[in-house]
């Protein structure tokens, strides 16, 4: 009762998704602040060593449901089981990754439990609230902080009256930190066949092509990122060349992804990945607030833009005014010259 719950997503490779581990890290801090327990929810066919991973995050209780119906993910079986767990356990807070699984599942759960759900939070904090109209005081609310209106505003949202307080968070937003001490979690098993009804199994998956994650933007120390200003997929090759000599990864803006210059998994920003490399080289990127939301924590930022007034320059350490087609080859040449 009144604890912090994290729905742990199981990846194609049968591991706990990064975003879920990040949420366990955050969830542990929230639970500590509130003086309550941290509980994980795992739905899969066979848990295997995923439970080991979860134990490293200081989880008190693992709710485990194992059934062939639960892997790969389908909405209704997961919905039914999570609903059953939440109705019984009455969580205070419930966190989901803002992935195609979390964004599919969490709203359906919030709807059936009639509670509030805040999407794509960039920060979660505990704080008090006084209702200005009624004067009623609320202690220890979850502040769910999210960008809205195309990222031009930041809203702090609370759910004073309903429980659980539900939120989704994108991958890379919260820091992944294991617990200092490993805890042995209590495991609660669920009999899935007693929860699921035939109508929960009406959708069948007839084909799946899920590729292993190829690019690891979050782990990259150097990111060469291209925007719409790169102009074409062919021109993007220059970015790959620079990334190769510097030992970095290539990222892109949504405009560049939409134009087909780069794959979706390379998108940085509010609706992409959040990165914090030691160097971020922004090539032909204007610096829209949705893009900056995913990269403004980078230690050093270089902007290369033909427009001296591009908004990205405001957060850049070095602003190079010029054509990236001219600047990038020179950067490669001088790097080779001076790095021996």
């Amino acid at each position: 009762m009144k604890n912090v719950f994290v729905y742990c997503e199981v990846t194609e490779e049968k591991r706990i998704a990064e975003v879920s581990l990040e949420l366990l890290s955050k969830g542990r801090k929230l639970a500590e602040t509130l003086g309550v327990k941290l509980e994980a929810v795992v739905l899969t066919d066979q848990a295997g060593d995923t439970l080991e991973t979860i134990q490293e995050f200081g989880v008190d209780v693992i709710h485990l449901a194992e059934s062939v119906e639960l892997f790969p993910y389908r909405t209704l079986p997961h919905f039914r089981v999570v609903q059953a767990i939440f109705e019984k356990e009455q969580p205070e807070i419930a966190l989901f990754g803002a992935t195609s699984v979390g964004r599919d599942l969490a709203p359906r759960i919030a709807s059936v439990l009639r509670c509030g759900l805040t999407a794509d939070c960039t920060s979660l904090e505990i704080g008090d609230h006084v209702d200005t109209k009624t004067g009623k005081e609320y202690k220890n609310m979850l502040y769910q902080i999210r960008p809205a209106f195309g990222g031009n505003i930041i809203a702090t949202i609370i759910n004073p009256e309903t429980r659980p307080q539900m939120a989704t968070v994108r991958e890379g937003v919260m820091k992944l930190e294991k617990a200092d001490k490993k805890k042995v979690a209590q495991i609660k098993n669920y009999k899935v066949e007693e929860i699921l009804k035939p109508e929960d199994l009406v959708i069948t998956i007839i084909d799946r092509h899920i590729e292993p994650q190829k690019v690891n933007l979050k782990g990259a120390g150097i990111i060469v990122s291209g925007g719409y200003g790169v102009g074409s997929k062919e021109n993007f090759k220059l970015l790959y060349d620079l990334a190769a000599v510097l030992g970095g990864e290539v990222a892109a803006t949504r405009a560049a992804v939409d134009a087909g210059y780069a794959e979706h998994e390379r998108q940085v920003g509010q609706t992409g990945v959040t990165v914090r490399p030691k160097l971020y080289i922004a090539c032909g990127i204007s610096g829209a607030v949705q893009h900056r939301a995913g990269m403004d924590q980078s230690a050093k930022i270089i902007s290369i833009n033909t427009d001296p007034n591009a908004p990205i320059n405001a957060i850049a350490d070095y602003a190079v005014t010029g054509d990236l087609m001219e600047v990038l080859p020179k950067m490669i040449a001088y790097y080779k010259k001076y790095s021996k």
Partner: protein
């Protein structure tokens, strides 16, 4: 055989993709007036998929439901120009301030009145950007949901095959009807307006619009009843007030802050050889690279 009823949920949104300087007021709030109101992009993909379903089924009709102020009737006219058969505007002051739970409650009440076999909606709206209304509506009308759909593979009067676009790949699923589908922006773009339909329906109006144009006494609807766009209120859909608007919304906005760009001290360079050389030497020296 009865006609298959296909419903599209479409929202009118401020165009947040082109936020200019005048879009923010001095107090940091959003100046909605300065942003053009557009058809939510994903909802156009949803409309297209609904029209494709109708094309393939033959014996089907496409309805559009939009919840919003009077001016959202534009969404219905636009949908009809592109091939939808009919539209409903769900409009009432009591809806103002609804979060996604209250919005999906209102929409689900209207859905029950229409009683469709299939619902297509956008994956997400570009203003709230939550992607929650689809799944929440599905739960409230007790339909299975298929989200992130990119392609309509096959459809019959009893089942539908769909391809979903996920982060790292695709998945094809078969679902029985009824079902609710949320359509990804990578799905087929919407067909253009049909000139004949534009001619035929450009005078379509809601009663409120006619009143605003001081034409409530015109014979328009009597002569051409198909030009009347139905307006539905809280009463029409028999919704419970306490589940609507601000008071029916569990999420409350505590504070809103505008995003301020803190200007960093930066080094401004050109594309000259000397400048790029200086840049690379700097980075190597400070061990950022190398």
């Amino acid at each position: 055989m009865e006609k298959i009823k296909i419903l599209v949920l479409a929202k009118q949104v401020p165009d947040t993709r082109n936020v200019g300087k005048d879009a923010m007021k001095d107090d940091g709030t959003v100046n909605r007036g300065a942003l053009p109101a557009i058809y939510n992009p994903d909802d156009l993909n949803a409309l297209e998929m609904a029209l494709e379903a109708k094309d393939r089924l033959g014996n089907a009709e496409v309805y559009v439901l939009t919840m919003g102020p009077t001016r959202a009737a534009e969404i219905i006219r636009e949908s009809i120009y592109r091939g939808a058969d009919e539209g409903y505007l769900l409009t009432d002051r009591k809806f103002a301030g609804s979060d996604t739970l209250a919005t999906s409650y209102a929409i689900s009440k209207a859905v029950k009145k229409i009683d469709p076999d299939l619902i297509f909606c956008g994956l997400q709206a570009i203003d709230g950007d939550t992607a929650q209304v689809g799944p929440q509506t599905a739960e409230k009308v007790d339909f299975p949901q298929i989200t992130y759909v990119e392609k309509l593979v096959e459809i019959s009067p009893t089942q539908i095959t769909l391809k979903r676009r996920l982060e790292r790949g695709v998945e094809t699923v078969v679902a029985p009807l009824p079902a609710l589908i949320t359509v990804h922006g990578s799905a087929n773009p919407c067909r253009a307006r049909n000139v004949k339909r534009v001619m035929q329906y450009k005078h379509a109006r809601t009663l409120t619009e006619l009143k605003e144009e001081n034409r409530e006494n015109s014979e328009l609807f009597k002569d051409r009843p198909y030009l009347k766009i139905e307006e539905w209120s809280v009463d029409t859909i028999q919704a419970d007030d306490t589940h609507l608007g601000l008071s029916g919304s569990p999420t409350k906005v505590k504070t809103i802050d505008s995003v301020v760009l803190a200007q960093k001290e930066n080094i401004v360079l050109t594309s000259s050889d000397a400048d790029v050389e200086e840049l690379m030497v700097d980075l190597l020296k400070s061990r950022v690279i190398g």
